[in-house]
């Protein structure tokens, strides 16, 4: 799935029939399913799903759920979903866990475009009858450090940022110093940090981060105090600053774990495949002297 070439001509009906065939008989022909769906783009996958529904009166995703299992089922299902719907599923999936991976939420909130983020929130509401912010905010915890993390997450998820290129140099100056003060100050104060990171546009924030580096001589992400809140904050900043570099790091840490973090791995591949996976792979190769494909192939035993 990491290097996808779409066929220009394809028949959704034939694809649907071939997938059905692969599901019949003793054992599922997983390779056949991957070789079909893995080589269809978003629009083509939609057509295959429609054709499958039309011919067999059955949802393709339900069929795959029955036939496949584990990580493969998860990856193929996510891949078959619409991007906004897929993000809604990913967000809900992590919020159901006792120890949610907040990176999923931060990626959706800080890397998707404002309109794409909206589409995710719409899809989430439609699926779960709650708003995403609502589910996020209603996590209750007695741990004040966790409360602050949730406030930060609700802040960035609620954002509907300006997405133009214009920014204000004076605001960048003043907010660079506010950020420094609150991150490195002794009073544990996070309100302004959350306000700035969850309302300013990407262009404005990047201007602020650049000025921060000029004033303090190091990147805003260096020298953070320890703890979960600051690690979440760093993720937010990295997602806003340089999504590709961020994803390359997520891939590396997912693969380098003793037991590979398959969720993170498939999430990055599936959500970026049709966007910037090529660039992320180049960055990965440059930094790790091994290609993602090789590393992934090793982990996924060739699937």
């Amino acid at each position: 799935m990491t290097t996808i070439i779409w066929p220009k001509q394809f028949s959704p009906v034939e694809d649907a029939e071939n997938i059905k065939k692969a599901c019949q008989g003793w054992g599922t022909d997983e390779k056949a399913i991957i070789s079909i769906l893995g080589h269809r783009n978003l629009f083509q996958r939609k057509l295959v799903r429609l054709a499958f529904q039309e011919i067999y009166h059955q949802d393709l995703l339900q069929q795959l759920k029955c036939e496949l299992s584990g990580n493969l089922e998860r990856a193929i299902s996510l891949w078959t979903l619409d991007p906004a719907d897929r993000d809604a599923v990913l967000a809900n999936e992590t919020l159901q866990k006792s120890d949610p991976d907040y990176r999923v939420i931060i990626e959706i909130a800080c890397i998707r475009s404002p309109e794409d983020l909206l589409a995710v929130k719409r899809a989430y509401k439609f699926r779960y009858k709650h708003s995403l912010e609502e589910d996020l905010a209603s996590f209750t915890t007695a741990d004040i450090r966790k409360v602050v993390i949730l406030q930060l997450l609700v802040g960035v998820t609620s954002a509907y940022r300006y997405d133009g290129d214009e920014f204000d140099e004076t605001v960048a100056q003043s907010e660079a110093s506010t950020l420094h003060q609150e991150i490195h100050g002794k009073a544990f104060n996070n309100e302004e940090v959350i306000r700035i990171l969850s309302t300013r546009s990407q262009a404005q924030l990047n201007a602020t981060f650049n000025i921060y580096k000029d004033i303090y001589g190091h990147s805003i992400n260096k020298g953070f105090p320890g703890g979960d809140y600051f690690s979440t904050l760093r993720t937010v900043i990295r997602c806003i600053r340089d999504p590709k570099k961020y994803f390359a790091k997520v891939l590396r840490s997912a693969i380098n774990l003793e037991e590979t973090n398959e969720d993170a791995l498939s999430r990055v591949i599936v959500t970026r495949a049709e966007k910037d996976l090529k660039d992320i792979k180049e960055l990965y190769l440059k930094r790790n002297n091994i290609s993602v494909d090789e590393a992934v192939a090793r982990e996924w035993s060739g699937d």
Copy 2:
């Protein structure tokens, strides 16, 4: 404008020509302009504006700005704008003031539907190259009571609520008691109040307010502590609970002031005319023994 009857057949070109005529010569024929635009619905006004642009290569709103003045100019301009764009202008207008009327923001955030609120935020970004939440949140103030008010406003403005009818009785129970605790408790704690009011759906909140009344024997809006924060909070609750009753009260207090609050008056009339102004007027009459029309006519000298 308070009782509008739309003509079924009308000519945008004739309207544009008649408005142009009313603007020519010595003095503007204000009554003619009102009698035209005041009797066209949203779609018809859009067509008139397009026809005006087509014939005279001039924006109708700019023309009106030159010809009319003061409150009349403001009301007719607001009336001629698209609802989402109009709300964006109203919000920005009040945020420019040294003493903003936060009711404008609360009405937009809590009374418009989730999709309409989004349309306002889109229009705001397009006009002002900032997001509405950004402009709201970047008000800086040393007054902690004001900071809390701004947090509440940013919260409700950022909301993208679930707008279905489903709600959770258990959540309503628990959040009714949380609200009571935070509003009437001794610790000045507002985080949970803001979280609840800015993420829960209208259906969920109304269930919570009803249970509140059952448990504590009085409406949630009774017996509030004094101060600006609680008065803002009360406005939020009133807007969510019963928008029509809220607007009837805004009208009454606008008219009953020694110097009529023309901004509030025209805001309610213009923004509700094509929605529920009829019901608001009925409520007003029932509670004040005088019709809005009479009261408005008195104030607006017949315009």
